[in-house]
């Protein structure tokens, strides 16, 4: 658990949302360890808490959500040095517990230590500014922040409304300097945008979806982050473009050696990109390990079900074996103290009525599963009766009256609130 090469160690992280319906435990006591230079994948369905995990690490959880508990240790000697005097509690050797740091310092880490790319590139750019300007701005922000790493005020002070107003009249007062523009063009080139000089002067609507995703990656790279968090980076894209973007991320990772935390619901993307994987269900990681552990030697019936649900592209067509039922409610009051998958699990036993810890499982040293089956074999005599959990067993009669997932994951799986206008596929 304490390999010196961990860049990020998340311990006991709990993020909860306090809504009118009640407390929603989006992420519960989550442990993750990410090694420097690896690609760690978190896979799960909508409502599993994978996006909230990413946002918690980025400190982007929005009200009514809050990180209620846990530690996020980030390995950065320079930072440890810088904040060690003021916040001795937050520092342990070269590790820094980000949750102990004040808002101001955490803000300054965004972009330089961590940066994030999102699912929907279209809404991540301001349609009224050129892509080049927006990239240059990101570069400028990072440049000024790193010139004065402990002060985040530096960036806001220099870019007040007044200076914005001035910049529209006086070119010399522009926030964006020729150097940052130059760097923006370099970044566009780096992410494989042909003709970056011309492209930098174009507006987001002139870009295709794939190109915008590239531009967003460029923006994320502006501060040369140590960890890149990619939240469903290819979900909104077509397969041929998805392949391009994955290749790009792969190349960039090889080139810069940065660490990538990849959040996705697509097991294919995980298989393509990751070294190690965590499978999330109902706010916790239920199985983790190397690719081979999870894809070939999985223990947890949920992992099994997830893999069994994917129609095979190569093989013959048989009947799919879906997981029955629906994603569970994460409302605090409705969460029983048992294995959270037990009500949908084909192999639920009496032992499952107790919340299982993570057991080491066969395979590599990394392989762990939150399932009693890692320790014992399935015993039919101890199986729970079909109707143990009442009607929730049937997919048909799901009693679940509230929103099926907390509001905090709007972009996930293209879910729209019912009133939102959507044209579906725009053609």
């Amino acid at each position: 658990m304490t390999t010196p090469d961990d860049i990020l160690r998340v311990r006991d992280l709990s993020t909860r949302f306090f809504t009118q319906e009640g407390q929603i435990n989006a992420v519960s006591e989550l442990d993750v360890r990410i090694e420097r230079g690896e690609v760690f994948g978190i896979v799960g369905e909508s409502g599993s808490g994978k996006s909230v995990t990413a946002r918690s690490i980025m400190d982007l959880v929005e009200s009514p959500g809050r990180i209620t508990d846990g530690e996020i240790w980030f390995d950065d000697a320079e930072l440890a040095d810088a904040v060690g005097d003021d916040y001795p509690d937050a520092v342990d050797g070269t590790l820094v517990n980000l949750l102990e740091l004040p808002e101001r310092v955490r803000d300054s880490l965004r972009g330089t230590a961590f940066s994030m790319i999102f699912q929907d590139p279209e809404s991540s750019f301001n349609p009224t500014l050129t892509v080049g300007e927006q990239l240059a701005e990101a570069v400028e922000v990072q440049r000024r922040a790193s010139a004065n790493p402990r002060s985040t005020r530096a960036r806001t002070r220099e870019y007040s409304l007044a200076s914005y107003a001035l910049s529209t009249v006086l070119p010399s007062r522009k926030y964006v300097t020729p150097e940052s523009r130059e760097r923006a063009i370099e970044l566009l080139e780096l992410v494989g945008i042909p003709d970056p000089v011309k492209r930098a002067d174009e507006y987001p609507h002139e870009y295709s979806g794939g190109m915008l995703q590239r531009a967003m990656i460029a923006q994320a790279l502006a501060g040369e982050p140590d960890v890149l968090i990619a939240d469903e980076p290819t979900t909104a894209l077509d397969v041929t473009i998805q392949a391009q973007i994955l290749d790009l991320l792969d190349d960039l990772q090889a080139e810069t050696g940065m660490t990538i935390l990849l959040i996705t619901h697509n097991l294919g993307v995980i298989a393509r990109m990751c070294d190690r994987v965590g499978v999330m269900y109902a706010g916790e990681i239920v199985e983790r390990g190397t690719l081979a552990d999870v894809f070939d030697d999985h223990v947890h019936p949920y992992t099994e079900g997830l893999l069994g649900s994917i129609p095979d592209l190569e093989g013959a067509r048989g009947r799919l074996e879906p997981i029955p039922g629906n994603v569970p409610s994460l409302l605090d009051e409705e969460m029983a103290d048992r294995c959270r998958f037990a009500d949908r699990c084909p192999k639920a036993m009496e032992d499952c009525l107790e919340h299982p810890p993570e057991y080491p499982a066969a395979g590599s040293d990394h392989h762990e599963a939150r399932c009693v089956l890692a320790e014992t074999t399935y015993d039919e005599t101890r199986a729970l009766s079909e109707d143990h959990f009442g009607e929730t067993e049937r997919p048909a009669a799901d009693k679940h009256a509230g929103p099926e997932e907390p509001d905090e994951e709007p972009p996930e799986e293209q879910s729209h609130p019912p009133t939102e206008t959507t044209g579906g596929e725009h053609q």
Partner: protein, 437 residues
């Protein structure tokens, strides 16, 4: 499966949307621009089968689906359902068609009216067509809800109380209410999680057997298509590039686009990292101004060089891409001029040309060219540095024009036709491609 007459026959269906077509545009004399969403699509669907229509977003697959069932006005073409021309239907015949053909939509959030209860939603088709008495309709709705895996006592609930998968089941129940023969499934599972998707796919499968349904499944998800369909049509930029039985098409794809599409899908297996795959470069061109000839030629890795041109396939692809960029004026000369060493804005001065040309070539082309081609490219780039875009493009075109841009390949006949010069008459005329495949 394909015995007798087809249930649905689509013949040269076209659907254009018009831009710049408002009163004001008319007033200012702007010409309307057609967006060719569907541009001459023909296929047949036989009773009891599932035809898949697959393609990337913007390829026109959904528009094709909606136009053939008269949700959109066709621009041209003909669709027959059960031998009747669909676009000519009126009155009772149209009503009957509306009952026989139903659609399941993509977005389970937007496809149900948030202000109508589930019961009312499923009942709507019965109301519209005046089926049965009030009581019979109610009973039928309850049966339907049970059949798709919901409970009948959820009749009075509103859509927002259901999860995505459940809503999609409601949409399916609505489609089945009037006992259709033919159901268009427009991305029925693309908004769902995999585990829920599997449930819905199984349900659709069961319903097909139970009610003898014929499906048209529109999807961008190749694994879903493979799992569900009997035959598949692949669309690209408003055209069908290949149709065939599912196993043949997935096992031995003929069209380079189909092949690229299949290779692009990441597999959920541990071998995925090592799998060799060829991804497509670039984006889909705009349907406002589709490429001449074969629409895929701008991205096709197998684009066919003119006869007798002794050149590597990758190199030829690069040269074609270069020419397209010149034709689209998508090369900015400043790119090579980072040190402002050349004065290219007004056309480079004579002594700068060789240096600027070399810099451009360096930037635009990756591979080394054989000497003969190097000369051609140098000439073209020299024109370019002088600011003569058209001349540069002409020079390249004269040398490298491909059959793929001159002629649009037709979709042939047979059980597995493909619209590609590699497989058509053109294949016999050129010697190159056979050695490549």
């Amino acid at each position: 499966m394909s015995v007798g007459d087809p249930l649905v026959r689509v013949d040269d269906l076209r659907k254009y949307f018009w831009e710049h077509d408002s009163l004001l545009d008319r007033l200012f004399g702007d010409e309307p621009v057609p967006v060719r969403a569907v541009d001459g699509v023909s296929f047949e669907i036989y009773e009891g089968e599932t035809l898949g229509l697959v393609g990337e977003s913007g390829c026109g697959k959904s528009t094709a689906g909606e136009t053939m069932v008269r949700l959109q006005e066709p621009t041209d073409g003909r669709v027959e359902f059960d031998g009747e021309p669909v676009f000519a239907l009126e009155g009772e015949a149209l009503d009957a068609f509306r009952r026989a053909v139903q659609i399941v939509f993509q977005d389970p959030f937007s496809s149900l009216d948030p202000r109508m209860t589930v019961g009312d939603t499923v009942r709507e088709p019965l109301d519209v067509h005046g089926v049965g008495t009030e009581r019979e309709r109610r009973d039928r709705v309850r049966d339907l809800l049970e059949r798709v895996g919901l409970s009948a006592d959820q009749f009075d609930r509103y859509p927002h109380e259901f999860s995505g998968g459940q809503r999609q089941r409601i949409g399916i129940a609505r489609a089945l209410a009037v006992e259709p023969e033919f159901v268009v499934l427009d991305e029925p599972t693309s908004a769902l999680d995999v585990s829920v998707q599997a449930q819905v796919l199984n349900l659709l499968d069961d319903l097909q057997d139970e009610f003898d349904l014929t499906y048209l499944l529109i999807s961008h998800d190749l694994s879903v298509i493979r799992h569900v369909c009997d035959r598949v049509a692949v669309m690209y930029l408003g055209e069908i590039v290949e149709i065939g039985p599912v196993d043949e098409l997935f096992g031995a794809p003929k069209h380079p686009y189909t092949r690229a599409l299949l290779e692009s899908v990441p597999r959920a297996s541990t071998d995925e990292r090592e799998r060799d795959r060829e991804t497509l470069a670039g984006d889909v061109p705009s349907p406002r101004d589709p490429p001449s000839g074969c629409r895929f030629r701008t991205r096709c890795p197998m684009v066919i060089p003119p006869e007798g041109l002794d050149i590597e396939r990758e190199t030829y692809r690069e040269l074609m891409t270069l020419r397209e960029r010149i034709e689209r004026r998508d090369v900015s000369l400043e790119t090579v001029d980072t040190d402002e060493q050349f004065d290219i804005d007004d056309g480079a001065s004579d002594e700068d040309v060789p240096a600027a040309t070399a810099a451009l070539k360096d930037r635009l082309l990756e591979s080394e060219l054989p000497p003969r081609h190097e000369a051609v490219v140098d000439e073209a780039l020299a024109e370019l540095t002088a600011g003569n875009w058209a001349a540069a493009a002409d020079r390249l075109r004269a040398e490298y024009e491909s059959v793929c841009e001159r002629e649009a390949p037709g979709l042939g006949d047979g059980s597995h036709p493909v619209a590609c010069h590699l497989h058509g008459a053109a294949a016999e005329r050129t010697d190159g491609p056979s050695s490549w495949t």
